[in-house]
């Protein structure tokens, strides 16, 4: 059952007699449906019959358009007039890795900004954007139009806006409770033109509960920030950027003693020695923060001064989330505090912790549910810092693991098979062997058996990313056993179209498919015709698709928007397809199509 919201015509249940036996007064139905929260349940309810569809649409408050190009703002507003929160997702994920030329859908958000400004969503209190190009003009438009009841703006992996846009939000949205700018790629500004948006918040006490700007590239005025924190008594989550020094962080912590989530900024004292913050003072600061046992999440450490890292030990007992993914921590350093982290559920680290560090994690963090091991040097030729040893240790120690993202240089089938057996609750398994086409480095065999074991033993698996040397056999396993799979990422794998056929014919719940640089052609693509309408998108780049095959898909599936995108150099004459990105859409192909995109 897809989570996508769309106007699927409900199947007529039975011929209308008078009156229909299951007639329920609409308002009773609406009252009941209000208790339904989960998106899947809501979608299911809306498909029962027309009156349920009407009632559900009238009462839906959390509206998610997980592919912004699939439904227009106008249509969404018409269908869900009571939308209180709006979640929009834009670019495909592979755009994060420079695979999509910039400007691909630069004005995707504009109609939404206009709709919001025109009060098309009168009940809107919360806006969540992910991978969406947002301009300062959009933010200004929204900020001026939204009422004081607007509560939350979250920008994740968005781009295009600058400090000016943030200033608009800060100054106009008086009732704002949440402003989260996370991992965004903000526009480069001339230093003289940067606006201090923190100072743009009105001088009255604010309702801010969450303020996060860890990715913001410029320094904000610390005085303004401190004053803001002082007059925001409800602040629970604070994430500062790398320009906030350790001493400044300490001061902020004293003003917000009941923080639950803290993004620590640089975690380094200012140069010049005038700060003179010492180890003991920092420990005290954390001890005070931890006194109420409220602090559960730490992140930041963007320019870590390693000698201060152990100061967090005093709050480790209560930590549930620890993000060290910007801090190259060594095994010796992590050992100093990870022993207390026995309540840790989410841990993001760099591979600088090495296998020994992971072994320590496995020993103490028994409740770990989500682990990410990111590479310090994201390069195929980098030194090997973590390997199958670390993975095996984690699988033995952290049996409750639900989600893992693991970057390494090489791997063995045995370790992956072990993980599949030790961690049967896995829902997300993303293994990135950075060396392309790397086989099992002990046996020399392809990694087929490892990934096969994962899909076979982890019956709840919904997301899988493969890597290493894989033959069609691996995909045979995936198709056969990956019945719960919703997201699949494949790169540099497979031998032939058979692999793609296995996927498309086997994975009945597949919603998102990302493939790059695999020897898959038109035959493989066409084998999925029966399923594409149930998917959020299909991305295939660097494969063996031709114009012919893609045209065939477009012909047979009129509601699919089939985009052919050319990475440089543009070559209109070839029959080969560089990037295929296709998705269903209720409103037809978009109009703002850049020159390197062709919509069939």
């Amino acid at each position: 059952m897809s989570e996508e919201d769309e106007d699927q015509p409900p199947p007529p249940k039975r011929p209308r007699a008078s009156p229909p036996a299951d007639q329920v007064l609409d308002n009773v139905l609406e009252t009941v449906l209000q208790f339904l929260d989960a998106p899947g349940d809501r979608s299911a309810a809306s498909l029962v019959c027309r009156s349920w569809h009407r009632a559900e649409s009238a009462t839906r408050e959390a509206v998610a358009v997980r592919n912004i190009l699939a439904a227009s703002a106008a249509r969404t507003a018409r269908r869900f007039p009571r939308a209180r929160s709006l979640l929009l997702k834009g670019r495909p994920r592979f755009a994060d890795f420079n695979l999509l030329p910039p400007g691909w859908a630069a004005s995707a958000f504009r109609p939404w900004a206009a709709a919001i400004a025109a009060a098309a969503f009168p009940a809107l209190t919360s806006l969540n954007l992910k991978r969406i190009p947002v301009t300062d003009a959009d933010l200004e438009l929204i900020a001026r139009a939204l009422p004081a009841t607007f509560l939350e703006l979250s920008l994740l992996l968005c781009d295009g806006f600058s400090s000016h846009g943030l200033a608009s939000i800060a100054s106009h949205c008086r009732g704002l409770r949440v402003l989260n700018v996370v991992e965004c790629d903000m526009a480069v500004e001339d230093e003289q033109e940067v606006v201090d948006w923190v100072a743009a918040f009105p001088p009255d006490p604010t309702d801010l509960e969450s303020l996060s700007f860890e990715c913001y590239g410029y320094a904000v005025s610390f005085d303004a920030l401190e004053a803001l924190v002082v007059r925001s008594p409800r602040l629970k989550r604070l994430g500062v950027n790398q320009h906030v020094t350790l001493g400044q962080l300490r001061r902020l912590m004293t003003h917000a003693p009941r923080l639950t989530h803290l993004g620590t900024g640089a975690f380094r004292p200012a140069d010049g020695g005038d700060e003179g913050i010492d180890f003991g003072e920092m420990v005290t600061a954390f001890a005070n923060s931890g006194r109420g046992r409220t602090l559960v999440s730490l992140s930041g450490f963007r320019d870590l001064a390693q000698e201060y890292l152990p100061t967090i030990a005093v709050v480790c007992i209560n930590l549930r989330t620890l993000d060290l993914s910007y801090a190259p921590v060594t095994p010796n350093q992590i050992v100093m505090f990870i022993r207390q982290c026995f309540n840790l559920e989410t841990l993001w680290v760099l591979d600088s912790v090495r296998d020994e560090g992971l072994e320590t994690v496995a020993m103490y963090c028994k409740k770990l549910r989500s682990l990410r091991v990111m590479p310090v040097v994201a390069n195929e030729d980098a030194d090997e810092l973590v390997s199958e040893v670390g993975l095996a240790a984690i699988s033995r120690g952290c049996r409750d693991l639900r989600s893992i993202l693991y970057f390494c240089q090489s791997m063995t089938n045995a370790a992956v098979i072990d993980m599949s057996r030790n961690c049967p609750e896995l829902k997300v398994f993303r293994l990135c062997i950075m060396g392309r086409h790397q086989p099992d480095h002990e046996t020399g065999e392809p990694m087929d058996e490892g990934f096969g074991a994962i899909v076979q033993n982890c019956s709840k698996l919904t997301r899988l990313s493969t890597s290493g040397h894989l033959t069609d056999r691996a995909f045979e396993y995936i198709g056969k056993y990956g019945k719960s799979l919703r997201t699949l990422s494949v790169a540099f794998a497979g031998n032939s179209d058979r692999a793609l056929q296995h996927i498309l014919q086997g994975c009945s719940k597949l919603e998102k498919l990302e493939i790059r640089d695999c020897p898959f052609g038109d035959a493989g693509l066409l084998s999925g015709m029966h399923h594409f309408y149930n998917m959020r998108f299909v991305w295939m780049s660097g494969c063996n698709l031709t114009l012919q095959g893609c045209k065939e898909v477009a012909r047979q599936l009129p509601r699919m928007v089939v985009e052919l995108i050319n990475g440089p150099p543009e070559d209109e004459r070839t029959e080969d397809v560089d990037i295929l990105y296709m998705y269903r859409s209720l409103d037809g192909p978009r109009e703002d199509v850049p020159p390197f995109v062709k919509i069939l």
Partner: protein, 219 residues
Amino acid sequence: MEATVDYMKAAEADNLLATELRLGLPGTSNDDHKATPPCTPRGKKRTAFDAAEDAAVEEVTNKHDDVEAAPPVAKAQVVGWPPVRSYRKSCFQQQQAKQISKPTSNNKEEAAAAPAPASNAATPSFVKVSMDGAPYLRKVDLRMYKGYRELREALEAMFVSSNNGGAANLSEFAVTYEDKDGDLMLVGDVPFEMFAGTCKKLRIMKRSEATGLGSPRQI
């Protein structure tokens, strides 16, 4: 040096830079307690480059891609692989650069000089370049250059050949820069990475004005 941003090339440049710096440091993690001999920054830098070249040569024999021995031209990197966002990749390159230039530079300044990168380019570090007698200023991206020689050539291309009738190269001029403390310094004394981190503005002045700066090293 053109500042054209071909996103594929820029991703390569990112990776090349990573290779160049990383191979020089002992180990790959920023292990502060690994003893590095206390020597002049320039000496340290030279060692780094030597080590980088040695390692690159090793790479050539290990991998069968055609690659030149010089570190900057490493094996062809695949776009978007490994799947790590370029912001994360460039974060650690910056940190490594700071490690090298730690003694004199101010971290905050450097971080401010290299703001959130565009989605498809290396972190730019544009500084103004003024030349005595030229009517308007130019801007150069210090991150585009790997050394003083390339910077010099770029400056020559910008200022000398087109504008000045008399001068054919920069030997009549002294290239100076203003660092983060506001002092006027002669370009060429410190390792290039350190210079790139601390330089705020470049100024090309006539040699006759550059008295008191000692015998300038040819950059």
